[in-house]
């Protein structure tokens, strides 16, 4: 594929190629949105060992695909378990695979799907959230630092790392969070819907402040408490349960623990994880960003 190269004023990198053909391939494969970040843009934000260059030597670009998760109807279900066990199609991952193939086949440059699964505790080798921010697809919110797209709100992200030098997108200049209605609410009540839904001082996960310019000036997110909610049943709860089960000396009590609803659901969720990894949506349920896409007849 012969494509004219250009230079980027942003990054000082030369020989940059238009990103449109790659982004189009991703959208055609089902991505709702696609953006590009310069690989070296990560260096300012993440420690060595978690940068694109650490995953793929000579990395030049990170291409990020985003897609919606639950349907509008799922958001309205009064049963919280619906969204916890309902699978998504994760088309963003498919789109990333298709774009990887496209880059290696059409351009002859290395491309790999960015590793986002945890390999040491909660830590993945690379942050998809930061990738989305740097690719100009959204900004970090007060709600568990979740990346919000200005139009769609919460999206799921996958990324690829490539040695192909692509023109990057700009980081969004306007924050998606807080939304104008949240700023007004904060001025009036000193809180926002997400902060009020899960307040740190009432056993929740979130705390934050908004300055006079309407921007986030302080945020705090308790990941471990969030883990107990958003991954209520799964790897963590299996481990927690096993510690108790193994320590239990009474055979009948042990049996009850092993056959309990909690442990059974925990084991079931291990299987569901491929399709659904989130089990708490309460801060996002009340987020006004992207609400237009959650209202149907």
């Amino acid at each position: 594929m012969e494509i004219e190269a250009s230079a980027s004023e942003d990054t000082g990198r030369e020989g940059l190629l238009p990103s449109a053909p790659v982004c189009e391939a991703g959208k055609k494969a089902g991505a709702l949105i696609v953006g590009v970040a310069a690989a070296n843009a990560f260096n300012e934000y993440v420690p060595e060992g978690h940068r694109p260059e650490d995953i793929l030597p000579g990395a030049q670009s990170v291409v990020v695909a985003g897609n919606q998760g639950p349907t509008a109807a799922a958001w309205r279900s009064p049963d919280h378990r619906v969204m916890e066990i309902t699978g998504y199609d994760f088309r963003e991952n498919v789109a990333v695979h298709v774009m990887c193939d496209f880059i290696e086949r059409e351009y002859g440059y290395n491309a790999l799907q960015a590793p986002s699964l945890p390999t040491a505790g909660h830590h993945p080798p690379m942050s998809m959230m930061l990738a989305a921010v740097l690719a100009g697809l959204g900004t970090r919110s007060l709600a568990a630092n979740i990346i919000l797209h200005p139009e769609y709100g919460l999206l799921y992200y996958a990324a690829l790392v490539t040695t192909l030098p692509l023109e990057p997108n700009h980081v969004l200049q306007k924050d998606a969070c807080p939304s104008p209605s949240c700023v007004q609410m904060y001025e009036k009540l000193g809180t926002t819907p997400c902060l009020a839904s899960c307040p740190k001082d009432e056993g929740g996960c979130l705390e934050g402040e908004i300055d006079e310019d309407g921007r986030i000036s302080y945020s705090s997110y308790n990941r471990e408490r969030c883990h107990s909610r958003s991954m209520n049943f799964g790897v963590g709860s299996v481990q927690k349960s096993l510690v108790d089960i193994v320590a239990e000396e009474d055979q009948d009590r042990r049996k009850s623990m092993i056959y309990s609803d909690f442990f059974s659901q925990s084991l079931s969720s291990l299987s569901f994880y491929k399709e659904s990894v989130a089990q708490c949506f309460e801060c996002m349920r009340v987020c006004p960003v992207g609400q237009n896409h959650k209202r149907l007849k």
Partner: protein
């Protein structure tokens, strides 16, 4: 289910199936005769899965990409699987056979059955279908693409049979290395007599006397999968000190093992070192 057409042109049917598979991403495909599976033990032959089976159709492709191979983070390939795409294609091919030709087609499950044994050796099927040939390292090798993932479909449709492929292993570069050093890249990176899994000779240009330590390979290929879970659980149960037991059950090894079991359908392989150094298909893994 439509009735099989008496006058079905099997050559044409095979051509259509091959084209369908290629459009779906297959890099290779081929047909094996079920009678050639006699070497497999009873219970693991195509007819054991599908009565009246005549052929096994095999598709191969979706290997790790060039970018995957050059990543210095071994965790990357361990968590980012590409193999499930070939299974998806295998299922589609089975449906294509039934819908287009009116013959039974059974997609061979990629998981394992009793005794940690596969339902049918997909590697044997790929070899008999001429998709690739065995290697000293273990995985089948295609002369151009090297290591690929495979999916097999057992069918009653008597498609024309492909013969076995010419051996791709040892590659010319490996023959040179054997002459000079008495070893090959795969055996050098994982030598059976030095804590590794592979051993063997090259005799008259062919590999011979192959030795393979399956149990050790399992510790590398399935480090954090079911075997790792069983080992971790055993260690926890053997530990009498409750505090130490908690350290084991909350450890990074056990945590990652549970994650790996969760995502096993996407990636079950956690060691690629013998294939990383294999010259067969290396050109396909070399980009800018």
């Amino acid at each position: 289910m439509s009735e099989p057409e008496a006058e079905l042109d099997f050559e044409l049917a095979k051509q259509q199936l091959t084209e369908f598979s290629a459009r779906g991403g297959a890099l290779v495909s081929g047909v094996a005769d079920v009678d050639d599976f006699a070497a497999a033990p009873e219970g693991f032959r195509p007819q054991d899965l599908l009565p009246g089976a005549k052929r096994v159709f095999v598709v191969g492709g979706s290997p790790p990409r060039a970018g995957d191979w050059v990543s210095p983070k071994h965790e990357h390939q361990e968590t980012m699987g590409t193999s499930d795409r070939i299974n998806s294609l295998g299922l589609k091919a089975a449906k294509f056979i039934e819908a287009s030709f009116g013959y039974y087609a059974l997609f061979v499950p990629p998981g394992v059955n009793k005794g940690n044994q596969p339902f049918l050796s997909v590697a044997l099927a790929a070899e008999l279908a001429g998709c690739a040939s065995p290697s000293l390292a273990g995985p089948l090798l295609h002369p151009k693409h090297g290591m690929l993932y495979y999916s097999a479909i057992v069918t009653t449709c008597p498609l024309p049979i492909d013969g076995r492929a010419e051996p791709a292993c040892p590659a010319p570069a490996c023959l040179d290395m054997w002459e000079a050093e008495g070893t090959t890249p795969c055996m050098k990176v994982c030598p059976i007599d030095d804590g590794g899994c592979l051993g063997g000779d090259i005799v008259e240009g062919r590999f011979a006397n192959r030795r393979y330590n399956t149990a050790r390979c399992a510790t590398r290929v399935h480090t954090h999968w079911v075997p790792g879970f069983q080992k971790g659980l055993e260690a926890a149960l053997d530990e009498e000190d409750p505090e130490k037991r908690k350290m084991i059950l909350y450890s990074s090894f056990f945590t990652r093992t549970l994650w790996s079991m969760t995502y096993a359908s996407q990636s079950q392989a956690q060691c690629y070192e013998c294939m990383r150094v294999c010259p067969v298909g290396a050109e396909e893994r070399t980009l800018r």
